[in-house]
């Protein structure tokens, strides 16, 4: 189709574009390589499949914001198809007389598909531009109290406009080209949209049509050549960096499992992330994969309650910092700017509840939570600068083995039970080890739960034992607060205790999702591999096996709050509901449940410090949601959720009953026993 001169020009421009792209892409890759560790490449076929699935399936998108996701799917699928279309168009342009599958049925199908997907991409892009620039959707804004790179607000608008115009121009001119082709060569029923556009050109001179055909080709393809080297500077890079990020994601035992640090290696002089180059490579990749859609921000409990934290702003700020320093970083230049400054404020850093909602929400596999926890490590291990209240909790773990700084007896909670709870020392042949946790041992509310769990196990005839005073804090709060050193000491101590108790060959059950996550998912990396289950899982199993005498329906309306470390981090959503269903079948769900559950506000060591300044307490926000279901009981499965929800309940004037599932089940068993006794008395008479 092209003239010889055009062909030469195209060859030259394509070479220039590819050369420049190789320069900028190499710069991006070298910048990513400034990070620590390696990107995961093991099991490449599986990883490729992950990337392709994410790109083609768009399933990460559609979970949230359905209409916007639909528009995006139109563009995404259009774009995937256009990778082939551009190749075909270049071949048709460069090879005289070549028309791709001109007469075959496959060619007709191809042209129909391209024609329709062109429309879908144009409509999708127009919708997104209208959403951003005319409707000005608030989803795309970041609250003014959140730190945002000075160039970001305008930069994102400009970048979006450039990308929008690029897509409209590229796809639009491809469509016009097809329409000129139809005007020249006659109608094609397989390109209805292009045929409709061809109607515009009726009566125009053949020379004009020919000019139009060439101009359209040049604009459509030329835009790609022009944009190619620009990709690393634009958020539009997400279209391949997103799938790339998902493909190279590290294997973790849970979405929240942190990497261990090597404290033995004396040559390591930096722990945690002070500068962006201290981050793992996968987390530098995050910044290039981010399309700045703010979906993580929508899910973030700190942001929703007016704190200074937005996980989206963190990725944006990282990206703008990288963009401004890419040349220097790629050539080995030192980055001297601390992240705590441009990436987020100190209050934002300590506002994170480590709930993992941001990583769950991100369509491109970004993990802002990991950056925050890496920065906390730097603050604690390197700078010794962290909220003062945490010092008490740290000292408590160090000296007393619990963050409450309680010197008391870890068996005291068993004293009011009407049966004896044995320690492993007294009863080494146990079947199940009940890991009580510091909350169960010391917190008055959680002691009730611990007693309920013990009661249920006892009534069901489970042969269990506890560690008693040999038990010590798992170190979860220390780890989420950045004190990895204290975590490692706690973990080593507990692993020794657990191994001595033979827990590796038994089942461990715990009433605390934080203990569950740490023992089950995080101790493995330190050599402690255990089979750990949450009490609701065990209760569910016991109920199913008919080992619990549970009464029928009692009609109480109950809603269940998924704890982050049982749900998102543990993947346990149904067991607690099943355990609950065994007693109270009238279960109403909150709008945000299961993997979309909204944190109670305690996680990430928040419960050990004052909540950062914001509009409202995270716990009040969540409690309101529970209250609005119309349920009278709020069932929980975590001592910290229980405490947060109880406090919020009290502030609201106690409209609900907050109970752990174990308590509900234990009450139910007791009620049944009561009824049983009454029936017996009745029969005696």
């Amino acid at each position: 189709m092209l003239t010889p001169y055009e062909k030469i020009l195209f060859a030259i421009l394509a070479a220039v574009s590819l050369y420049l792209a190789s320069v900028t892409f190499r710069r991006m890759i070298r910048t990513i390589k400034r990070g620590r560790g390696r990107l995961a490449w093991d099991g490449l076929p599986g990883r490729l499949l992950t990337g392709i699935k994410a790109l083609a399936g768009q399933n990460n998108m559609i979970r949230n914001r359905p209409l916007v996701s639909l528009a995006h799917t139109g563009i995404a699928w259009g774009f995937i198809l256009y990778m082939a279309v551009n190749l075909v168009d270049v071949l048709e342009g460069m090879v005289t007389g070549f028309v791709f599958l001109e007469h075959a049925a496959a060619g007709q199908a191809y042209r129909l598909l391209v024609d329709l997907m062109t429309l879908a991409a144009l409509a999708g892009m127009a919708a997104l531009l209208i959403r951003r620039f005319i409707v000005k959707s608030t989803d795309l804004a970041v609250a003014p109290n959140v730190k945002l790179h000075p160039r970001a607000a305008d930069g994102i608008r400009r970048d979006s406009l450039i990308v929008g115009c690029f897509i409209l121009g590229h796809v639009g001119f491809r469509l016009l080209g097809a329409s000129f082709d139809i005007a020249i060569h006659g109608p094609d029923p397989w390109q209805p949209v292009a045929a409709l556009a061809a109607g515009l050109w009726t009566g125009l001179a053949p020379s004009f049509l020919d000019f139009g055909l060439h101009a359209s080709w040049w604009i459509a393809i030329g835009l790609v050549l022009a944009f190619l080297p620009w990709f690393p500077f634009s958020k539009h890079a997400h279209l391949f960096m997103g799938p790339f990020n998902l493909m190279t994601a590290p294997e973790r035992t849970s979405p929240g499992t942190l990497d261990v640090l090597d404290f033995e290696d004396e040559s390591i002089e930096q722990f945690g992330a002070g500068r962006i180059t201290d981050l793992d490579r996968t987390h530098i990749t995050d910044a290039f994969a981010c399309i700045m859609c703010n979906r993580c921000q929508d899910a973030c409990p700190a942001y929703a309650t007016g704190k200074e934290l937005s996980p989206a702003a963190l990725e944006v700020n990282k990206r703008y910092h990288l963009r401004n320093h890419m040349k220097s970083l790629a050539t080995g230049g030192e980055d001297t700017e601390p992240m705590l400054g441009y990436a987020m404020s100190e209050s934002a850093l300590w506002a994170c509840t480590a709930c993992g909602a941001c990583t769950e929400a991100c369509p491109v596999g970004n993990e802002p939570m990991f950056d925050i926890l890496a920065m906390r490590r730097n603050q604690v291990l390197m700078e010794s600068a962290f909220p003062n209240e945490l010092k008490g909790a740290f000292t408590g773990i160090e000296r007393n083995g619990n963050p409450w700084q309680m010197a008391g007896d870890r068996m005291e909670w068993t004293e009011s039970l009407d049966f004896k709870v044995s320690t492993v020392a007294e009863h080494p042949d146990y079947d199940v080890l009940f890991w009580v946790g510091c909350a169960g041992a010391f917190d008055p509310g959680a002691r009730d739960t611990a007693r309920s769990i013990a009661t249920v196990l006892h009534r069901a005839g489970v042969d269990f034992a506890v560690l008693g005073n040999d038990e010590s804090c798992t170190g979860d709060l220390a780890r989420r607060a950045g004190n990895e050193y204290l975590f490692s000491i706690s973990a080593e101590g507990n692993i020794e205790t657990l191994n001595a108790a033979g827990a590796g060959r038994k089942k461990i059950v715990t009433g605390c999702p934080h203990c569950l996550h740490t023992l089950g998912n995080e101790y493995g990396a330190l050599g402690g591999r255990y089979e750990v289950m949450h009490h609701t899982q065990l209760i569910g199993e016991l109920a199913k096996a008919g080992r619990l005498a549970l009464p029928g329906r009692d009609g109480t309306r109950t809603t269940y709050h998924d704890p982050c470390y049982l749900g998102r981090h543990g993947g346990v959503y149904e067991a607690p509901r099943q355990a609950l269903a065994a007693t109270r079948p009238s279960l109403v769900e909150m709008a945000r449940n299961r993997n979309r559950s909204f944190c109670c506000g305690a996680g990430g060591a928040q419960v050990w410090k004052e909540e950062e300044e914001g509009r409202e307490a995270v716990s009040d926000h969540r409690f309101l949601e529970a209250w609005e279901t119309g349920a009278d009981t709020l069932a929980v499965g975590c001592p910290f959720c229980a405490r947060m929800m109880n406090d919020a309940n009290k502030r609201a004037g106690e409209p609900m009953r907050v109970r752990d599932i174990a308590e509900i089940v234990a009450e139910s068993i007791q009620d049944e026993q009561q009824r049983e006794r009454e029936r017996e008395r009745h029969d005696d008479r």
Binding site: S384, R399, Q405, A407, Y485
Partner: protein, 263 residues
């Protein structure tokens, strides 16, 4: 500016139990910690160094295990640490301890400021630092809640003392000894880099011979105070839960307190 921080290792009195050998430090006597008041001592010394330069030496008298307290001091950031330890020094009372500490301070040499805590939580005499100042013949400013002005060039220190019913601002010449109360600052949490540095550090141990002290002049034999410790008797407690709404509960509580002649 050369600063000496006096540090003692004590039992964690928050965790006293019958299993412990009274208040004495014994191998199985429960966790031992840096005397909590001395955390403020160390923070004061470190802040003064950060402002004026120079060096902080932490000085501790105690059994060999007390080196752990100095490790904490090193982890917090002191430049040097010295442990004074000798079996002959065991059971020294505050005056005998002061004599030992003074000998060690003389051996350390030049100093502008000595900082100590208001007391140690085990003996709780609040006397040792006072006696150190007296033996050295330098001014003592005790119960310091704020260092208003520390001026190495003018060789003065102005401090606010926290008294029972007043605050007193005192200016003293340097060298001087100050004892601090917890209102003065917020002790830092050791960074990992500090902990690693401390783990590598070799802490010198000085005994009677190193200090030129006659063993008969220190320890129990040279002390006027004889230690006899016992745990407080267990108090009989009776717990009564009051039910009802806040107003009723408060009324019942007041009635009960009046019955018991508490109010």
């Amino acid at each position: 500016m050369n600063i000496i921080a006096l540090v003692k290792q004590t039992p964690d009195t928050a965790q006293l139990s019958a299993a412990m050998d009274g208040l004495m430090l014994s191998a199985d006597g429960g966790p031992r910690i840096v005397n909590p008041w001395d955390e403020y001592t160390l923070e004061t010394a470190l802040q003064a160094r950060e402002e004026h330069g120079g060096k902080v030496t932490a000085l501790c008298l105690g059994p060999p295990e007390a080196a752990d307290a100095l490790k904490t001091a090193l982890a917090m950031g002191v430049d040097e640490a010295v442990l004074v330890s000798d079996p002959a020094m065991a059971d020294s009372d505050s005056l005998a301890s002061a004599r030992i500490l003074v000998a060690a301070i003389r051996k350390i040499g030049d100093f502008d400021l000595i900082v100590g805590g208001r007391a140690a939580i085990d003996g709780n005499t609040a006397a040792t630092a006072v006696q150190v100042a007296a033996l050295l013949g330098i001014p003592l400013v005790s119960y310091v809640a704020k260092l208003r002005n520390l001026d190495p060039s003018d060789r003065t220190v102005t401090a606010v003392r926290l008294l029972e019913k007043a605050r007193e601002t005192v200016t003293s010449r340097l060298p001087a000894l100050i004892t601090v109360v917890k209102e003065i600052n917020e002790p830092r949490y050791p960074s990992l880099i500090g902990i690693r540095k401390a783990a590598r550090a070799d802490i010198p141990v000085w005994g009677c011979e190193d200090l030129g002290l006659d063993p008969s002049g220190v320890g129990a034999g040279a002390s006027g105070v004889v230690w006899r410790t016992e745990l407080p008797p267990v108090r009989e407690a009776h717990i009564e839960m009051i039910d009802g709404g806040p107003e009723d509960a408060a009324r019942t509580l007041v009635d009960r307190l009046m019955e018991e002649k508490v109010i």
